[in-house]
Symmetry: C2
Subunit: 306 residues, 2 copies
């Protein structure tokens, strides 16, 4: 049914759409650019999500955003009209906490990030240090002399941190000098372009620490397969009967490809049909992985068929 160059949802017959909708039991969806933009739901997105849940699909919001806890995501979702609970949210902060819990981690975590991460660590009883402003006071030599590594630190988590600083790179890299200290990155999104400025993404922060530590982190977020492990182990998800929906091919669609999921791109965020066409024509096999099975103008286009 699907073309190598991606299938336009609008070109499918009602019978083909019905068949497609019956081909998955689990739906994973990105949030920003798919179901909402900032605090505004996208047209009919709320109805589509609620119908999918009503029709018995197992639903997960999958987000690379590490600044909110799962209860905070639920609050936002419910306020915007989505019928979801904490069991429907997979965030990178949650995954990082689960990752350490699965390793029976009992030491402390040095966190570059926000309360989005530390509250998820609190929820699994893992101690942490580091969040909040930590800037150079006095000279660099004084900062070096004044830094006493906490011997209880056994992991470094790097996520989105608006207080990111030179001193934080120094501390993270110093802990990571011990090869036994675990290194976790929540996600590697490069940036958030705004009308008049560019907001750094976690990827910029992770790359600073990676360069200085001369080590690569285990990354929790899309497009890395770790989410898939959690879904299979904790929720019995069957990859071939799972649909990943997203607006960004190099995170959402690639996650789908990396995990063996079906994929749907909606054109209400980063990537559009023209990008899909370009990816499909590439000579590079890795680029061709960015082509979704199906693409639609918006998530709301599914509503008449649910």
């Amino acid at each position: 049914m699907y073309k190598d160059s991606g299938t336009n949802f609008a070109s499918l017959s009602p019978t083909e759409i019905k068949q497609w909708l019956e081909s998955f039991d689990t739906v994973l969806t990105d949030c920003d650019g798919v179901i909402w933009v900032d605090n505004n739901p996208l047209p009919q997105a709320t109805d589509v999500i609620n119908k999918l849940v009503g029709n018995g699909k197992q639903l997960f919001f999958v987000t690379n955003n590490s600044t909110k806890t799962r209860p905070e995501f639920v609050d936002k979702s419910v306020k915007l009209g989505f019928n979801v609970g904490i069991e429907n949210i997979i965030s990178t902060a949650y995954l990082a906490a689960q990752y350490l819990k699965a390793k029976s981690f009992t030491k402390k975590v040095y966190v570059i990030g926000s309360t989005g991460i530390t509250r998820e660590l609190d929820a699994v009883g893992i101690r942490h240090i580091g969040i909040g402003p930590d800037n150079l006071q006095g000279s660099l030599a004084e900062a070096v002399r004044g830094f006493t590594p906490d011997p209880e630190v056994g992991a470094v988590i790097v996520g989105f941190d608006e207080h990111f600083s030179f001193v934080k790179i120094m501390k993270a890299a110093s802990y990571l000098n011990n090869p036994e200290v675990l290194f976790i990155g929540t996600n590697t999104d490069e940036r958030f372009p705004m009308p008049d400025c560019v907001i750094p993404g976690t990827g910029a922060i992770v790359n600073a620490v990676t360069t200085c530590a001369e080590r690569l982190p285990t990354v929790m977020g899309k497009p890395n397969k770790y989410i898939c492990d959690i879904l299979e182990q904790q929720y019995n998800v069957n990859p071939t009967r799972t649909l990943m929906i997203g607006d960004r091919c190099n995170t959402d669609i690639l996650l789908g490809k990396n995990c063996g999921f079906q994929t749907l791109l909606v054109e209400t965020g980063i990537h559009k049909a023209a990008d899909v066409k370009q990816f499909a024509q590439s000579d590079d096999q890795e680029t061709r992985k960015l082509v979704p099975d199906v693409y639609a103008g918006k998530l709301g286009d599914l509503l008449p068929y649910l």
Copy 2:
């Protein structure tokens, strides 16, 4: 005379050493780990440098350190007994200023760095903004709203900055969103390992900005060829009759290889004979580039032959 696996200076006969010393007119040398460590000259290094100058060699101290101006380097060098003047110093801050001067640059520079850079810009009459602490005050939303890009900024220089912050990444990437804004990195050294901590190098800072800006900088420092252009254009240096001395193969020796210089590794800093042996045995051509022509225990080993 030289082996593909590097030639041990100690294995050369006095005749071979004399021949070797006569094969170059220009000597470029790294500083830290070669002629001094912090504020202590290495054994006989002062005598070797002063003899080389006395024997008529054209000498340059070539440093990736962007925190000092050339006059500040001269001060330090003279205090430690080296007979050098400003004409003998090539620093990345100086190179960055020369790079913009050569382009007849008349706009402003947004600097992530220190007075080491801004004083070199002042010396060539180029205006700048940005140095010093610049941390998040209030919320991220306030910082975004409060940032008014300076329309006069036409270049971003990224160097070593102990006040590096999230806000600085945001500003640099925002300026670099305009493809006409020039992007210069002083150097890409990853880190400075200390006994109890790891101090971030400029490479960590550059990589954070690069990730967020989705652009690569023109890098001034070793191992990039730009130094070679300046030496040929401004000082008529002949690459084949030039010796590059260093303690780090992936900056100093690689610069030599990239520029067609002869190379000497001294084992008083980062890399040792054992590393050279390992590089020489690599299947990877790029790794084999790290093998110096000659390696010696210390620079002082040359003294008896000068």
